[in-house]
């Protein structure tokens, strides 16, 4: 019932609003290695800038719904905010809806295994001067408390992201506000082993001051953060991170990241190295390996490791095949299981503003003490980005 009500509403909105907010570091396969090319947040994610919107429509999304006489340039011109000409150019609204159908162990016959999740209902706005030297951005979003996640109750709308951005020089920017912590490959899947164990998911934005520099062959971001204001004081992670990438060859990037944070209960440190490379137009490979150390205040430290390998192959414009491998061990010295994810998925942008994903995922845990039955997941996602 909720879907029946919400979907037509979103569909109607899509006719009037402009494109949105993704983070796909795999799009180095199109020659766009730096996040700042498309995003207002130079470390990736969040609302797209005008160039990112145009690029999305004119180069990445399928053009099957446009006739042959419509050029890519014309599609790009339509990618902006509908009605933009009647609005001041310094104001850019955005909207994003993301839903997930998750079925565990498809074919097992269990009737309760399919679940529907509203993953994202975000709306926001960016204001900036014509040159983009001064910018302020805010995104409010559906951010339910954990008790409401299972019910899909839209019970809490919070300002998930807000920041002011100031360009200090040709290649320097400073950000202040509530932002994602810059670290590693900013994979869009918040359940991934290169995002969740590190504390870098959709709930983990932190009040930060970030200094960012980006040049042709390298970029570095340094972040000092004091935690998420929606989290109780004793759980707020305060600390710092640094992440950098170097481009040794065209459309190839190697990087490293370091983060250390603590709250009243835990000291959390992560170090990683990563690699991204374009393979051919639209196709790319990226991988990240890292180590995580957690030191509870009243216990001994545990050190674990993770691996994330993602390929993306362009099948035809707007459609991609995406094999995935992930590995995670929470504590390399104890009996915690070695966890694996093996996946194959299809990512589709059938038209500008729309995205669909189908992923088949196998999750295996290998224990030292027993055999454990693996779990299969079928994930189907639908996104509307306005």
């Amino acid at each position: 019932m909720r879907i029946a009500l919400v979907f037509p509403f979103l569909l109607s909105l899509s006719l009037f609003w402009a494109l949105p907010a993704f983070s796909y570091p795999e799009f180095i396969g199109y020659g766009y290695a730096a996040c700042m090319t498309c995003h207002n947040n130079g470390m990736g994610g969040g609302q797209l800038n005008d160039y990112g919107r145009a690029l999305w429509s004119a180069e990445i999304a399928s053009r099957v719904f446009y006739d042959k006489s419509t050029t890519d340039e014309q599609i790009a011109e339509r990618s902006g905010f509908p009605g933009q000409s009647k609005m001041p150019n310094w104001l850019k609204p955005s909207f994003k809806y993301r839903a997930l159908f998750l079925r565990k162990n498809p074919g097992s016959g269990t009737s309760d295994a399919t679940k529907f999740y509203v993953m994202q209902v975000d709306f926001g706005a960016t204001v900036s001067d014509p040159d983009g030297k001064y910018m302020a951005l805010i995104t409010w979003g559906h951010n339910p408390p954990p008790t409401d996640v299972q019910t899909n109750k839209i019970s809490r709308i919070l300002a998930k992201e807000y920041f002011a951005r100031l360009q200090l020089g040709e290649n320097w920017w400073v950000y202040a506000g509530l932002l994602d912590i810059p670290f590693g490959i900013r994979n869009v899947d918040h359940t991934s082993f290169n995002r969740a164990p590190q504390g870098l998911t959709f709930r983990d934005q932190s009040q930060s001051v970030i200094l960012h520099t980006a040049k042709e062959n390298y970029e570095v971001a340094v972040d000092a953060f004091v935690g998420n204001p929606y989290v109780e004081d004793q759980f707020r992670m305060k600390g710092a991170s640094i992440t950098g990438e170097y481009q040794p060859a065209e459309n190839t990037r190697i990087g490293a990241s370091l983060m250390s944070s603590k709250n009243d209960l835990l000291t959390h440190s992560v170090v990683s190295v990563h690699y991204r490379k374009a393979l051919s137009k639209g196709s790319a490979f990226q991988g990240e390996y890292g180590m995580i150390q957690d030191k509870p205040q009243l216990d001994v430290a545990s050190t674990g490791s993770y691996l994330y390998l993602q390929s993306q192959f362009l099948v035809t414009r707007g459609y991609f095949l995406r094999p995935l491998i992930e590995n995670y061990k929470a504590n390399n010295l104890s009996g915690t299981p070695e966890q694996w994810k093996w996946g194959i998925g299809v990512l589709a942008f059938p038209a500008p503003r729309y995205e669909g994903r189908i992923d088949l995922l196998n999750k295996t845990s290998i224990y030292k003490t027993q055999a454990q039955e693996d779990e299969w997941q079928m994930r189907m996602q639908f996104h509307v980005s306005l």
């Binding site: 490379k277 393979l279 051919s280 196709s283 490979f285 390998l309 390929s311 192959f313 095949l321 094999p323 491998i325 694996w340 093996w342 996946g343 194959i344 196998n362 295996t364 290998i366 224990y367 030292k368 003490t369 027993q370 055999a371 454990q372 039955e373 693996d374 299969w376």
Partner: protein, 190 residues
């Protein structure tokens, strides 16, 4: 015919199939990697029978010959496996729990290949897997899992960051009392 002989026979048939293909480019690759799969395990004792699962995982080493006619081609791959198996779990009925049982095995795979660019190959085809594993008896409970010889289908994606090095990922399904087969590793072309 023993399981081992059947495995060799299947390999010879696939080798003959792969050689009957007009080619422009041939790659020879040696590889090392990690693999895992799962089998259904049947437990039997004087007091009754039960089912559980067995996991197989370990390292692989292999040789592959790929032949391409511009974008399309085929491949024959031979792999050896050295690994361990975990079978059963505490609380299973009948009670059975064995971990890190060593085994060796191998596979032969014939794959059709598509190479959209020099950096990417996508392959798919049948494979035959052999593994020698005899689960030990535990307190009167005997265990048998899967099949010594198994057959399945594979999908494989390869990317080549450089001319010689490749990274591969395989996702497959095994047909006889088993489920997904997964592998990943590094290859070197010569």
């Amino acid at each position: 015919m023993s399981a081992y002989k059947s495995f060799v026979f299947a390999g010879l048939i696939l080798l003959a199939a792969s050689s009957a293909f007009a080619v422009e480019t041939v790659f020879h690759t040696i590889s090392i990697g990690y693999f895992q799969w799962q089998e259904r395990m049947e437990l039997s004792s004087s007091s009754g029978k039960g089912n559980t699962v067995a996991q197989f995982f370990g390292n692989s080493f292999g040789y592959e010959r790929e032949s391409y006619n511009l974008h399309w081609g085929n491949s024959l791959q031979l792999e050896g496996y050295l690994g361990q198996g975990n079978g059963g779990r505490p609380g299973s009925t009948p009670a059975y729990n064995q971990t890190f049982q060593s085994f060796f095995g191998g596979s032969v795979a014939y794959k059709w290949a598509y190479r959209p660019s020099g950096y990417i190959s996508l392959l798919s085809g049948p494979f035959v897997l052999y593994r020698g594993m005899k689960w030990p008896e535990e307190s009167g409970v005997t265990a048998k899992s899967g099949s010594d010889i198994n057959v399945g289908v594979l999908f494989e994606a390869k990317i080549r960051p450089s001319q010689r090095i490749e990274i591969y990922q395989k996702i497959g399904m095994l047909g006889i009392k088993a489920s997904g087969f997964f592998a990943a590793g590094l290859g070197m072309k010569f």
